[in-house]
């Protein structure tokens, strides 16, 4: 009995390590083959080079796509977070009719096949006579970022102690002053996380961008175009490595901000209690 109890966690730990290995397996090969001299990704590695990275900087189509992606991701994350703040604040603070169904509707893009959202948005855009451009991509990205932004913000706003706002009002602070000096600093970490998460999603998103863009390509759409040419693969892998590094940095920042904030609110809770 005790032997079994001791055995179980160690088996589970081994499984956990294997599982993490499985998750990281494909991710690891991107950087490895991106600094390999051979144009086809295969073992044994033939030698170390940074050539593919140097080539990236001198490909105008790629730098354009990178710039497009950046613009789209910044706009989409700002808009999605703004919509997320309104919705999360309403959901965590007020009771109103159809609250749960509205929340369900806003979360729906998460469980719908992306291709169906993409083609239906495409139909609307074309029927409205809108020209497909990076703006239509932003519209699409905002829609699929909202569920993520909403869940980050809802959990951030839920830990929020309403009595602090009341205390501030009682001590004579104006409503706007309360919002600026009490509410905002407490919800700022959730807002920053939401911005970073939405930015990362938009940066990597392919299906919506593929259907909704006109002639301008975002990075994933550019990569998709390059995948047809075997000779372009090392460049794509190099680009992928850079994107990977960018995503990891952004998410680590988001996680640190979120954790520091939750620790701080916990401490404050302890002080008040």
């Amino acid at each position: 009995m005790t032997a079994l109890r001791k055995m179980l966690p160690s088996w589970l730990t081994a499984y956990a390590v294997l599982y993490i290995g499985f998750l990281y397996l494909p991710v690891i090969f991107l950087p490895i083959f991106s600094i390999n001299t051979a144009a086809t990704p295969k073992f044994p590695l033939s030698g170390y080079t940074l050539k593919w990275y140097r080539d990236l900087a001198t490909t105008p189509a790629l730098t354009d796509a990178a710039w497009n992606s950046l613009m789209v991701a910044v706009s989409a994350s700002l808009l999605a977070t703004m919509f997320g703040i309104c919705a999360a604040r309403a959901i965590t603070r007020y009771r109103f009719p159809a609250r749960r169904s509205i929340n369900g509707l806003l979360m729906a893009p998460l469980v719908l096949p992306e291709i169906i959202i993409a083609v239906s948005m495409l139909l609307v855009m074309l029927q409205l006579g809108l020209n497909l451009s990076l703006i239509t991509v932003v519209f699409g990205h905002v829609l699929i970022c909202i569920p993520y932004s909403l869940s980050v913000l809802t959990s951030g706003f839920e830990g929020f102690d309403r009595s602090l706002e009341e205390a501030s009002a009682d001590l004579g602070e104006s409503p706007f002053g309360t919002f600026r000096r009490v509410t905002l600093p407490m919800v700022a970490p959730a807002i920053i996380s939401s911005l970073l998460v939405s930015f990362t999603i938009s940066l990597d998103e392919f299906i919506m961008a593929f259907f909704l863009t006109g002639t301008d390509a975002t990075l994933p759409v550019y990569i998709w175009g390059q995948l047809r040419f075997a000779a372009k693969l090392p460049g794509v892998l190099a680009l992928g490595t850079l994107l990977l590094i960018a995503s990891v940095i952004l998410l680590t920042i988001a996680e640190i901000v979120r954790r520091r904030a939750s620790r701080r609110t916990q401490n404050m809770g302890g002080l008040i209690a």
Partner: protein, 305 residues
């Protein structure tokens, strides 16, 4: 749209002098959520309604004929090509959800029960790969499973095979492996959350009453984590049906899925009404199957208890 919302934030309802409906909590909440709601209505609800409408129309080159017809559905359901694609997509998504959930359960269990202080770190480790570009992860699987790929190199290096095999790539199993990997995080998180919610005193009680670890797991932990398993199944199965990148890159001829057909109708083939009918049929069928799976899990969980 946002201006009125902000004014409402700045003026809590308590300050209103007139206590009419406009200042009630309901109105404030609805007013605050309305920008987001309107956005979702315009870009999600209306588009989906339009797709449904389109599926009853016909298209002659560039002209859309808006007379009601069920012809598209007849094609979508009876044409062997689409029927087979739909069947295969459903089968693949069932397999993928089964494997993701079965593989994810132990890890969610491990983090929840044995994660200790490092729970957050484990969860973070698990979410990182999910954030890397989906396109590139599919690409990497192609590199791993290919003829000159990593898997073949490893097998030959270990002396298990003496020549590379082309059996790993361009088939259904390549699609299943890639998708199982792609959706792993989405299965771990909901199961973890439901395990976290389990009242640990119930497990202690079962131990005190003489249940061994296996019985305890089967009678307490597993049934109580059913909601997590259900949301994992839903969140993996429905989107998987609509994937077209994975089948296109690693699926080969045998791995083509219904989404590839939908994409073709909205792209090269340019028959939107048929594409719309295929989308609606896919959604309807996958929702029905997901509902059946959910019901089965729920009944099973109840029976064990």
């Amino acid at each position: 749209m946002t201006v009125p919302a902000e004014t409402i934030v700045a003026m809590p309802p308590e300050r209103g002098r007139k206590r009419n409906w406009l200042q009630s909590e309901s109105a404030t909440g609805l007013g605050l959520i309305s920008p987001t709601l309107i956005y979702a209505l315009i870009f999600l609800v209306v588009p989906i309604l339009l797709v449904i409408a389109n599926s009853f129309w016909t298209q002659h080159y560039l002209v859309v004929d808006r007379t009601f017809t069920l012809e598209n559905y007849r094609i979508a359901v009876t044409d062997p090509i689409y029927r087979d694609l739909l069947m295969r997509s459903l089968w693949i998504s069932l397999l993928v959800s089964f494997f993701t959930v079965v593989l994810a359960y132990p890890i969610a269990f491990f983090i929840s029960f044995h994660g200790g202080r490092h729970k957050g770190l484990w969860l973070f480790l698990i979410t990182i790969p999910f954030w890397t570009s989906y396109l590139l992860r599919v690409m990497s699987w192609k590199v791993i499973l290919g003829y000159n790929g990593v898997l073949n190199a490893t097998l030959m290096g270990l002396g298990i095979t003496d020549q590379p095999s082309d059996a790993f790539l361009y088939n259904t199993s390549a699609v299943v492996i890639t998708l199982t990997h792609a959706w792993a995080t989405f299965a771990v998180l909901p199961i973890f959350v439901s395990l976290e919610k389990i009242d640990r005193t119930l497990i202690e009680a079962a131990t005190d009453l003489g249940d061994g670890p296996v019985r305890r797991f089967l009678r307490i932990t597993l049934p109580l984590s059913a909601p997590g398993i259900i949301s994992a199944v839903l969140i993996v199965m429905i989107p998987t049906v609509g994937d077209f990148v994975t089948p296109k890159l690693v699926g080969g001829k045998d791995g083509v899925m219904i989404a590839n057909a939908i994409q073709a109708q909205f792209g090269k083939a340019a028959n939107w009404p048929l594409g719309a009918a295929l989308s609606v049929t896919t959604m309807a069928v996958v929702t029905a199957i997901a509902a059946a799976v959910v019901l089965t899990i729920r009944t099973a969980a109840r029976r064990i208890r």
